[in-house]
């Protein structure tokens, strides 16, 4: 994804040189930085997407300030960071985050800043959950390091019917939004890290080819929802359930959990089993999977069959 971003930016520079009033050589440090392994935040992907959309929408004059903004992007000093949505590095992007995170559904989610006290406590819990994951499931923790650039702490509207727990967006690739009032144990935190990073992994798997070919308008009964859902959503949920199971299995085997944490992990694992097989039945019966979609789901299926 990161190398493709560098290639895409280079292509835009080539196509737009002389047509937009912008010195495209200013993008070179960022492009070469990405290619040399520097990690940029999720906003770099978002600004890139907005540049493409503005040009394709016939609003290419809007691309120039976005290109200027892109040049200001700075690489991360660590693989990923945990900050509140009102931290200076995120605050200026809040409208962008809300736009991307609310782009799909009729249900709009409020994401606001947590209190300073909540930020401190939740930030510590994220790190504790990560340390547990790193000890019990180092492979998964290493994948998290690769996939995630920003854990962004938010709170939702506690009066709303739908309580936002967490989420991610393809166009904010690497960004993981978590409700700081949720996930009050290390096991829950480790599970959500496995869960949300799995969505980010699937976005990357789908960079060249969609996972399913079912039209978005075609809705199916979802084992995970009361309402009907597109196949792509059911596919995601099914795959993610397998990954959550994988995380819980490793935590349970690790010997690192106390009795209460062990019981919580076992409950979560049972739910993951139920969700995976219910979702897989729908995908298997009605999903029109692409080659990529089949390969990715086969990996999840093989794992779940091995633990059946």
């Amino acid at each position: 994804m990161r190398l493709s971003l560098a290639d895409s930016l280079e292509y835009i520079a080539k196509q737009a040189a002389g047509k937009l009033i912008f010195e495209f050589s200013a993008l070179e440090p960022l492009i070469s930085g990405i290619r040399s392994g520097e990690r940029y935040p999720c906003t770099t992907f978002a600004i890139y997407a907005e540049i493409v959309l503005s040009i394709c929408n016939g609003n290419q004059d809007l691309a120039v300030p976005l290109l200027q903004e892109m040049v200001q992007e700075q690489p991360l000093e660590q693989p990923w960071r945990v900050l509140s949505i009102d931290h200076p590095v995120h605050e200026k992007n809040m409208a962008r985050y809300l736009r991307f995170m609310n782009n799909e559904s009729d249900t709009k989610f409020y994401m606001g800043p947590p209190s300073a006290d909540l930020v401190a406590r939740f930030g510590q819990r994220v790190m504790a959950g990560y340390r547990l994951l790193a000890s019990a499931a180092p492979e998964l923790a290493a994948e998290f390091d690769e996939l995630v650039s920003d854990v962004i702490m938010v709170v939702g509207d506690d009066k709303a019917k739908y309580q936002f727990d967490g989420g991610s967006s393809y166009l904010l690739w690497g960004g993981l939004f978590l409700n700081a009032t949720s996930y009050d144990t290390e096991v829950a935190m480790a599970e959500v890290m496995a869960h949300e990073s799995a969505h980010i992994l699937l976005y990357a798997c789908a960079a060249d080819e969609a996972l399913v070919e079912n039209p978005d308008e075609e809705l199916f009964a979802s084992p995970l929802r009361r309402d009907l859902r597109p196949m792509d959503g059911i596919y995601h949920a099914t795959f993610v359930s397998a990954r959550m199971h994988w995380a819980m299995a490793q935590l349970i085997r690790s010997g690192l959990l106390d009795d209460a944490a062990l019981a919580a992990a076992e409950v979560a694992q049972l739910e993951d089993v139920k969700n995976f097989w219910a979702g897989h039945e729908v995908v298997n019966r009605q999903g029109q999977l692409t080659r990529t979609g089949s390969q990715v789901m086969q990996a999840a299926l093989s794992y779940m069959e091995s633990v059946r």
Partner: protein, 65 residues
């Protein structure tokens, strides 16, 4: 201003729109899709995944929006 021409097949995140063998009706033309009043529309390449609880009574059950 001279129009900038972009081949979506060369662009991260947009190539699967261009690669679709049978574009969905709303994707038939990129202009129609991206120029819609709703802005960035739902699409397999332009997707968001949200986990949420429905109220408080359902407990841990997650949903994927």
């Amino acid at each position: 201003m001279t129009p900038v021409q972009l081949d979506l097949k060369k662009l991260l995140g947009f190539k699967i729109i261009a690669n679709e063998a049978n574009p969905k009706p709303q994707q038939a033309t990129l202009g129609a899709k991206l120029g819609s009043k709703e802005g960035i529309k739902n699409n397999v390449s332009l997707q968001t995944r949200i986990s949420a609880k429905i109220g408080d009574k359902i407990g841990r059950k997650l949903i994927w929006v």
